[in-house]
């Protein structure tokens, strides 16, 4: 097939690459020869952040591995919407076993490839936040601890969206889900201790941990590429807004993801061997209201009278993140 360079026109985002960039700096998504690992025709909702994140991440992984990639998938939205058999969106060898075992299945695949001498074949495991931070955490921690040669990608949309929007341990405080309804004095999800998986992954001292959002394509792709330069257990945590569960307009997925980062609520960084090596600094710090207000799951905070106290507590979480990860420092903590 003859390859004709494609030109994209700048639309105010970098999601399809930038025609002004030289070829080698363009995103995988901007390349006509991207693998479309998660092909069109799947059943995800309009504006689904997870579908976007999975395609970005797996296409980047495919490029990095010269298409020698196998994926294990946890039960969840991504699994269900991608494989309404006899149709499947996956253009790569892909297996779904159970909700809580994607990391262990990936370990088994990696072991099989090693024993078969297929050192070129790399393994990705992927799941939503429920399959990662809750039911799959045991297998994930085991995979980290053994430093199995697997890249685990968590698509975090902050809840069990496939079963109809229930709370997970990744649901943010005050958020409405169908099991944390905005009723009573402390509406929405409780302010618990939280279970921040990127930090837990770093505590395992695995070679590489990163966070990303679907708002920054170049950053996301670079992190997948970087992850593939390591052997051993690697973890990438991608924030993927869910128009259905979060109650925002489906056209605003990218914008919401960017606001999560720019408010400091979702720190975007990389770590190698438990040390933070790079943070994506906040370009222009925004108050958390900017992120909360467009989402129906936080609407109860903005009724009359607004819950200023709750919004302030969420702001404190953002400020803590900014300090902890030096999201506004002038000097990056590069290694």
């Amino acid at each position: 097939m003859t390859y004709q360079p494609i030109r994209f026109y700048q639309t105010g985002t970098f999601t399809v690459g930038n025609r002004l960039l030289p070829d080698e700096q363009r995103s995988v998504q901007a390349n006509m020869r991207r693998t479309n690992s998660l092909n069109s025709g799947h059943r995800a909702c309009q504006g689904c952040g997870e579908a976007l994140g999975a395609r970005y991440a797996i296409d980047a992984a495919m490029e990095a591995t010269h298409s020698q990639l196998v994926a294990a998938n946890a039960t969840g939205c991504l699994e269900v919407f991608s494989t309404p058999y006899p149709e499947t969106s996956w253009q790569i060898p892909w297996i779904h076993s159970l909700f809580g075992n994607a990391a262990a299945v990936a370990t088994g695949i990696a072991a099989a490839m090693r024993i078969k001498g297929r050192h070129d074949v790399r393994v990705v495991a992927q799941g939503g936040d429920g399959g990662t931070t809750d039911i799959g955490f045991g297998c994930l921690s085991g995979m980290f601890e053994r430093n199995d040669d697997v890249l685990y990608i968590c698509y975090d949309n902050g809840g069990y969206m496939n079963t109809g929007v229930q709370r997970s341990s990744a649901t943010p405080p005050a958020a409405r889900t169908n099991t944390t309804m905005p009723l009573g004095q402390s509406p929405g999800n409780r302010f618990d201790q939280g279970k921040y998986l990127p930090a837990l992954a770093m505590a395992h001292e695995i070679p590489y941990v990163a966070t990303a959002t679907v708002a920054e394509l170049h950053d996301l792709e670079a992190k997948v590429r970087r992850a593939m330069e390591f052997h051993g257990a690697r973890y990438i945590h991608i924030l993927v807004p869910c128009p259905l569960g979060w109650g925002h307009a489906s056209a605003e997925t990218i914008k919401i993801a960017r606001l999560a980062k720019e408010t400091g609520l979702f720190p975007v960084f990389e770590a190698e061997g438990s040390r933070v090596t790079h943070v994506s600094r906040i370009k222009r710090k925004l108050p958390v209201e900017e992120y909360l207000r467009p989402q129906q799951r936080f609407a109860h905070l903005f009724k009359d009278p607004p819950r200023r106290d709750v919004i302030d507590r969420i702001q404190q979480l953002a400020d803590r993140n900014i300090l902890r990860y030096r999201l506004q420092d002038d000097v990056e903590r590069r290694a």
Partner: protein, 417 residues
């Protein structure tokens, strides 16, 4: 090669001869010696190439085996008791995906109350999971069944569970005939998967299946198990030619010709049962034994034919369907051509309670004399049970049952057996 070996060691040797490529291990008594031995073999290079993975749970053990098997590797693990229940979701999944994993189950009771000793509750709890389930009578059979299990699993693309009695077999030293590598290689071809995760030919495995196809998929699992009923007996000749001994098959009859009474059992207790039957035969009692090697698929035709002339059947089983009675006996009754009330259930040996010839003489004698109850609990201490029930009638907060029984019994160690 004849060798005096512990059952676990013999099984580990047999598994190693089958050239497994990925072994996942999570320790649980009484399975530990098997995976320890395999781990040593991988570490020393005696078993190579092979990946030995120490996982963090039985659920992970089966999940790693699923991934390895789907990626084309011969995968093995072993468990028991609570471990089998903890991995249950993945056990069903492996069968549903049609992955030919072989797993040893060192049979042990299920708690609560926690109990590490032998019975068949663990394996029988998974009887409908879609795995083929084979039960070994002695260590030689345990060894042989593992070799047959890999071939059967890979031929049918179904997982196979080889059940051997915890401690009674796993920890017993017996003489075994350990085959040579050439013999096993001649019997067991390399694994040629029906489905494999391969970047050169990408496929999706584990898709959502709706009402339009689920029945058919489940029916095909049933058909595959039925195929095992044909394959297993047809392979015994080949096994004998290569290994020089009879092994395998679905069931084994012992002195059932002209027997009015046939005792049906699984596993190591068959030895004691046969000894008892020999003694009763000497006294002129027409009694025989039917040993079940293959519990899933249930060999209906073989059992029916073996019991065709029996006037009564005694199913001696180390399991209890709470609220019903027997598990094995219900399967036997379904296959028995006579009236079901002639199938007696004797629940015995739960949690490692010794099954003695003396007790078997009595219960078999009762059966022959026509005075055996439909369901009997062998050597049950009715007095203790009565006192616990009386306490419950008298006291609302009567306390935990297990601890009440133990307190009533006093120093239990002296009463085992």
């Amino acid at each position: 090669m004849l060798k005096q070996a512990e059952g676990s060691a013999a099984v580990a040797e047999a598994v190693a001869l089958c050239r497994p490529e990925v072994i996942c291990a999570y320790p649980i008594s009484p399975q530990t010696h098997i995976v320890e031995a395999l781990g040593r073999m991988v570490t020393t290079g005696k078993l190579a190439p092979c990946e030995f993975i120490n996982v963090e749970s039985e659920f992970a053990a089966m999940s790693v085996a699923i991934g390895a098997s789907a990626a084309g590797a011969r995968a093995y693990t072993a468990t028991a008791s609570q471990g089998l229940l903890f991995m249950a979701e993945a056990v069903y999944n492996a069968a549903g995906l049609g992955l030919p994993i072989v797993m040893t189950v060192a049979n042990r009771a299920i708690g609560a109350p926690i109990n590490i000793w032998n019975d068949h509750t663990d394996a029988l709890s998974q009887r409908d999971c879609g795995w083929i389930q084979l039960f070994a009578e002695d260590n030689q059979e345990a060894l042989d069944l593992h070799i047959q299990a890999f071939r059967l699993a890979e031929e049918l693309s179904l997982p196979v569970m080889v059940c051997m009695d915890g401690y009674i077999l796993t920890h017993a030293y017996e003489r075994v005939d350990l085959p040579a590598q050439e013999q096993v290689d001649a019997y067991l071809p390399p694994y040629d998967p029906r489905q494999v995760l391969d970047p050169a030919n990408p496929i999706s495995i584990g898709a959502m299946v709706g009402p339009e196809a689920f029945m058919e998929v489940r029916y095909l699992a049933h058909v595959k198990q039925q195929q095992a009923l044909e394959l297993m007996p047809s392979w015994t000749g080949e096994f004998k030619r290569i290994f020089g001994r009879e092994s395998g098959g679905l069931t084994h009859s012992y002195r059932t010709e002209d027997a009015d009474t046939v005792v049906v059992a699984l596993g190591s207790v068959l030895g004691t049962v046969k000894d008892t039957v020999d003694e009763m035969r000497e006294q002129g009692v027409k009694i025989g034994v039917l040993g079940i090697t293959c519990f899933r698929p249930w060999p209906t035709a073989a059992v029916r034919s073996a019991l065709a002339a029996a006037k009564r059947v005694v199913v001696l089983e180390k399991s209890l369907a709470v609220g019903l009675g027997g598990i094995v006996s219900n399967n036997v009754a379904a296959a028995y051509a006579g009236t079901p009330d002639l199938v007696h259930t004797v629940v015995a040996g739960l949690g490692g309670r010794a099954i003695t010839r003396r007790s078997l003489h009595k219960v078999f004698g009762d059966a022959v004399a026509g005075r055996l109850d439909p369901v009997t609990f062998l050597d049950l201490d009715h007095a203790v049970v009565g006192r616990v029930l009386a306490r419950e009638r008298e006291l609302r907060r009567s306390g935990p049952i297990a601890e009440n029984v133990l307190r009533d019994l006093g120093a239990v160690a002296t009463k085992v057996g």
